[in-house]
């Protein structure tokens, strides 16, 4: 073998490095496509949603704080009535309440599955939870309508439609998501943490509470945020039980509405490009921005609360 050949073989890309480039390109293409989808949806929603403010000249502040939603009519000053406050309040109430109720259950179930009885967890709880995800929201809505609403009506009075019923339905809907993500978070806590704690003479609960849960705080927070985003964006099921009255909710059992329920109801009935349609897209834009906001917020809290 002469020098040139050795040189050539050394300078040529090896099979492995070609392979490496190939892999990088393939996965790069995939992520590019996804980024493309994300960007085009953001652009799409933003361009339609911002038209309310730029084309139809609606005051942003009025939009966020107004309490009357009736895009086809004008108020005393001649501005269209597009006050989104009742829906914003409604959306936030159901989301936070559902998250508050669901979090302890989800963490409890996840701890059970990872720490107490992994066998029962794998065999029974996990399939059960995955099945819950597969039940379509229409079905959740109908069960909500025929079980939860009458229950709330009998127990708490009123018509049964309202934030409370919405909370119950959302609780069941986000439970699987939050639980399975919490399980992942707990599973990623290294085994030697637990062993070290047990070796120090801590009980199982002490280990769970003082070590495992603390070590996975940020993962659990991500799970909860994810669940909240789910709840925030859920439409069909909530729409069936919340009553869809565009009023500021005074209590938990009077009809209220959420951003998604108004959005879903109105879309088909309005003409594209008209003010009522644009106003609905502004709601969609809010739906995109809000989870982003509490994402950042909770991440910040999580950073401060995490174990050092």
């Amino acid at each position: 073998m002469n020098n040139d050949e050795i040189r050539a073989s050394l300078l040529k890309r090896s099979r492995a490095s070609k392979n490496e480039i190939f892999g990088k390109v393939i996965s790069g293409i995939c992520i590019t496509i996804i980024i493309g989808v994300v960007v085009s949806i953001f652009y799409f929603v933003a361009s339609k949603g911002l038209a309310t403010f730029f084309t139809d000249k609606v005051n942003l502040w009025k939009f966020l704080t107004g309490t009357v939603w009736n895009p086809s009519t004008n108020d005393a000053q001649g501005d269209p009535q597009v006050g989104a406050l009742p829906m914003i309040v409604g959306s936030f109430s159901v989301t936070f309440l559902a998250a508050i109720v669901a979090t302890p259950f989800a963490i409890g179930a996840a701890v059970f599955m990872t720490e107490i009885s992994p066998k029962l967890g794998k065999r029974v709880l996990q399939p059960v939870i995955e099945l819950l995800v597969g039940i379509p929201s229409v079905v959740y809505g109908f069960i909500g309508l025929s079980v939860v609403v009458p229950f709330v009506r009998r127990t708490f009075g009123g018509s049964g439609f309202g934030i409370l019923s919405g909370t119950f339905v959302l609780f069941v809907m986000i439970l699987p998501t939050v639980t399975s993500m919490t399980v992942d978070a707990l599973n990623s806590v290294p085994r030697n943490y637990r062993e070290a704690s047990l070796a120090l003479g801590a009980t199982r609960w002490q280990t769970i509470y003082k070590v495992v849960l603390r070590a996975s705080v940020s993962g659990i927070i991500t799970a909860v945020v994810f669940g909240m985003s789910r709840a925030f964006g859920e439409a069909l099921a909530v729409q069936m039980v919340i009553g869809n009255a565009m009023l500021l909710p005074g209590n938990l059992i009077s009809p209220a509405s959420t951003l998604t329920s108004v959005l879903t109801m109105g879309m088909g009935n309005s003409v594209m490009g008209s003010l009522s349609n644009n106003a609905l897209w502004s709601l969609a834009l809010l739906l995109l921005i809000m989870p982003l906001v509490f994402n950042i917020l909770i991440r910040w809290i999580g950073k401060r609360g995490a174990m050092h």
Partner: protein, 287 residues
Amino acid sequence: MKKRLIALLGLTSLLVILSGCQLKQTGESITAVGSSALQPLVEAAGDRFTEDNPGQFINVQGGGSGTGLSQIQAASVEIGNSDLYAEQKSGIDPKDLVDHKVAVVGVTPVVNPEISVKNLSTDQLAKIFSGDITNWNKLGGPNQKIVVINRAQGSGTRDTFERWVMKGRSTMQAQEQDSTGMVRQIVASTPGAISYMAFPYVDKTVKTVNVDNVTPTDKNVQINKWKIWSYEHMYTNGKPTGLTAKFMTYILSDTIQDEIVGEMGYIPIKDMKVSRTLAGKVATINE
């Protein structure tokens, strides 16, 4: 694993390319989109049409009257179904659209079956929906709070109801539902509930109410004694041609009007004894 991955990727791109090329399909089809209330009717007529004319398909989709009118205006579909006149919808330029009235539908107030009230005047009805009357005992019924259930803003049924009952008065903010099925289920199960729906949807679970001592029947609609009714429209962009024209003639034929339109609870156009213009002018039809 890698081979499988590549095979999957290849298959995907092949599919996308295949369908992107718009390979010519055998058979001919047109798309009708819009009003979800009109959808079952057009779908049934379309199925029958395909049976009679093999290879010609009518693709019927819902999505709401607003969608139907937007899409027919943009000419991205052949037929736009609507519960409303195009002129009534803001954002639509009705100039190029050709209206085909295919059926008439009556709208009636419905109440929870436990409410004993049998008759309401138009004025009382308007006061219920504007929030001025809030208890059934004011109307000769039991001492029970009235639960008003409205349809979504912009829905055809709501427009019809507001036009002929509210007459310019504004409805109060109340529960809203975006489909007749939901309204029926809620009225049936909620004590003291009142709402309104199109005749074909009325069943045993809810109770209809007479308005000004007129019963909500097809006969009364045909002579305009029952005033709360509207036309069902199928719009085309310009004069219909080809398959669209053939289907429009077909759906207005006596067979379809009797066997499908009538069977479903809608009122065939040819049975109407009066006609009503957009502005509300009523004229008797001379046979």
